[in-house]
Symmetry: C2
Subunit: 432 residues, 2 copies
């Protein structure tokens, strides 16, 4: 490895922008990925590792000792370092912390104290603060003493003598204002600071709604503790959106696209096992009506249609409701309207497609009874599907169960059971 053979690759990896190298690593299968990682210099590893998704990050971290992590830590901002530390065992975290200088260590411990999914866990501590009673001219001279300002600094944060948050002074405004005025006169107090305990999804909504680049974070006493920047919020938005999509297939939002078989197989196996249980429940329902199927075998041919149409219609409702909940559109006041709408849509579409299926089944098996039965079963199942698709996520949300994860399986169980039960039950009544 240290020979000259791989020098061009090594040189490329260490000169590309770290985010691009991270993307390259995420896009490569395990063996090549491990090989490329070895070609990267320790100094640049820190820059790159912060851009990797959690699962890939954990892979590399697992093979590092505390000393190596500490070496990487030096180049990282406090919030990015905390993200990485949270993946490590407590023992390693302590070792890394003890290798840091006092000030850095305090900063990191400060963020580590907050839950990962809160504003406190998302924030950075690199705030530039000023007092309200100084003039812009004084502030400008103070700024000029810095070599540079932290990335994404779009305003100075105005605080009281005891560090209480007062307001912000946008850099844009400093540049167009008369230097002799005081900060109090030009600062803006509209921007309400974010409490450190606010969930990160709420933080993301605020950023989206108010088009912020950065926002101050305060503790329970209103004292400034840090700031959140849009780049970290974008990650939250992306992760939440991915979560909905991937959960529906029983996958994790940190899923490594190129996870090896030994990792991917057990994770998926569990999901298949859960679905197998619902499949057996459906089979048990069919089994009740074995006798009827034995008499009219056409029922076996047609029964999947009723179940699958219910599943499709229910999934549509479920998706609309889960997304509406994620966007904060759905509340107690409007959920009744929404449920009504879904049932109406289910009934109308049930009737339309029931008519089509009835004609098709009647012609196919030359049997008008089977047409009537399948039509009735479809209407019943599509209305049930709409009800289940709307109610299940609402109930799960109350019970703190993730509807994106559990909603689909629960829904299919309902639509399969009701689909087979109504179709075969009606058939038993008519043909028995």
């Amino acid at each position: 490895l240290s020979s000259g053979e791989f020098l061009p690759i090594r040189r490329m990896l260490n000169s590309l922008p770290p985010a691009d190298v991270a993307h390259l690593l995420e896009s490569t299968p395990p063996k090549i990925r491990a090989f490329l990682w070895q070609l990267i210099d320790l100094e640049t590893e820190g820059d790159i590792i912060q851009y990797l998704n959690d699962e890939v990050q954990a892979q590399f971290l697992r093979e590092m000792d505390a000393e190596e992590v500490a070496a990487i830590a030096e180049n990282l901002e406090a919030d990015d370092l905390v993200d990485i530390l949270q993946q490590l065992p407590d023992r390693v975290i302590q070792e890394v912390l003890s290798s840091m200088d006092h000030q850095d260590r305090q900063r990191v411990e400060h963020i580590l104290a907050y839950d990962e999914d809160t504003a406190g866990g998302l924030m950075n501590t690199d705030t530039i603060t000023v007092r309200p009673n100084i003039t812009l001219d004084v502030a400008l001279r103070y700024l000029r003493r810095h070599e540079n300002l932290p990335e994404m600094t779009d305003h100075l944060i105005v605080v009281s003598r005891s560090d209480e948050y007062i307001g912000v002074l946008p850099l844009r405004r400093i540049l167009v204002s008369d230097p002799s005025v005081t900060i109090r006169e030009v600062m803006s107090t509209d921007l309400e600071a974010i409490p450190a305990s606010m969930p990160d999804t709420e933080v993301a909504k605020l950023f989206e709604r108010h088009d912020w680049v950065s926002a101050p974070v305060v503790d329970d006493e209103g004292r400034l503790v840090g700031r959140i920047t849009i780049d970290d919020v974008v990650d939250v938005i992306r992760e939440n959106a991915d979560h909905s999509l991937l959960s529906m297939a029983g996958l994790d939002e940190d899923e490594d696209t190129f996870a090896p078989v030994i990792k991917a197989a057990p994770r998926r196996a569990m999901w298949l096992g859960i679905n197998l249980i619902t499949a057996f429940i459906a089979s048990a329902v069919i089994n009740i009506f074995e006798g009827t199927i034995d008499k009219v075998v056409a029922l076996a041919v047609l029964m999947p249609i009723v179940a699958s149409m219910g599943g499709v219609a229910g999934t549509q409702t479920l998706t609309v409701v889960i997304r509406g909940m994620a966007l904060g559109h759905i509340s107690k006041d409007n959920s009744r309207w929404l449920i009504n709408r879904e049932v109406m849509v289910g009934a109308i579409n049930g009737l339309i497609w029931a008519a089509v299926v009835a004609v098709a089944a009647t012609l196919w098996f030359d049997d008008r009874t089977i047409g009537v039965i399948i039509a009735a079963a479809m209407v019943i199942n599509l209305i049930t599907a709409a009800l289940a698709g709307a109610l299940l996520p609402m109930i799960m949300d109350k019970l703190k169960i993730d509807p994106a994860l559990a909603g689909g399986v629960a829904l299919t169980t309902v639509t399969d059971v009701i689909g087979f039960m109504s179709f075969l039950g009606l058939a038993t009544y008519f043909y028995a």
Copy 2:
């Protein structure tokens, strides 16, 4: 309405932040929504309408005449106005444009010329530009002549005499630099400008990867034509993520959570119709083996298990691949590895659950043959599901078919057909 009765509501609607009012409107059923909209003053309508999702926006715009749209247009930034105009018929667009003053009109026409889904369609024209040869002091005096700088201005854009893009000068750097140096000395030329024709998803990737707040946009000749800001990029990210989730249920990412029945029903009906076709295909396959089912009715009881497990496993693969493609992880070089991995995972999980199902089926029906048959069918279907789940989106992507929309239906068709065919086919062989 103009009576005093609704004055408190009216006052509230016209004093809340526009983004919050937009969210409130999106969260209300049609009738109340229309009523609330009437209480909003024409001057604030413009501020609010830009925050609404496309479908709700279109609803309100449809009821406005060109004059009203023109009145709203006055308060909007060029890029937000263009987003709104794109929803209107050409005739109205022309009327609105002709009511604008020359400069504004030119700006808007400039953006309208680009496709909605490109950097050009996403950009705004409110750039603050400077020449490289002036000193910071001169630049500062020039800035002070502005009353304020546009939102999200995090740098000045450095251009040549003929408006060619050269680099950017971050405000952060202006504030910490000696005023006597020239812009050329402190500007940064690392940031490559975005070509106006770049697709918006690519733009979003660049912003995410490089943590930009804003970035310059250039035409084919490298001349500055505008800038893109992170708030609009966040919308792109959100919409793309929503697109994957909603397409899988045949829904649109602009879907209004509270769309009335007459709008929601036909849209969903179409999707159900498409799925009905695949359900009939599956039924046709079952129908081939009617005779076998007639002999061994237990087959009818167990057959949904094989099909549904294939569907679940295939959906997992499909989701991983679609997301990997969205993140730009998957290329020609690594797709073979990915397909292999998926087939391996499918085979392993197929074998594990086939064993469980075989034992369960054997005990249930006291028939060892049926256990062997269902196990074999499950392994076949799970391997097929993995292959289809990986290959279908890759093929669709090449054919410019949206895999998020069409992938699920196509996959279920495959797993249903292969599931029923292998299970009932093997049964016919063994029991005939």
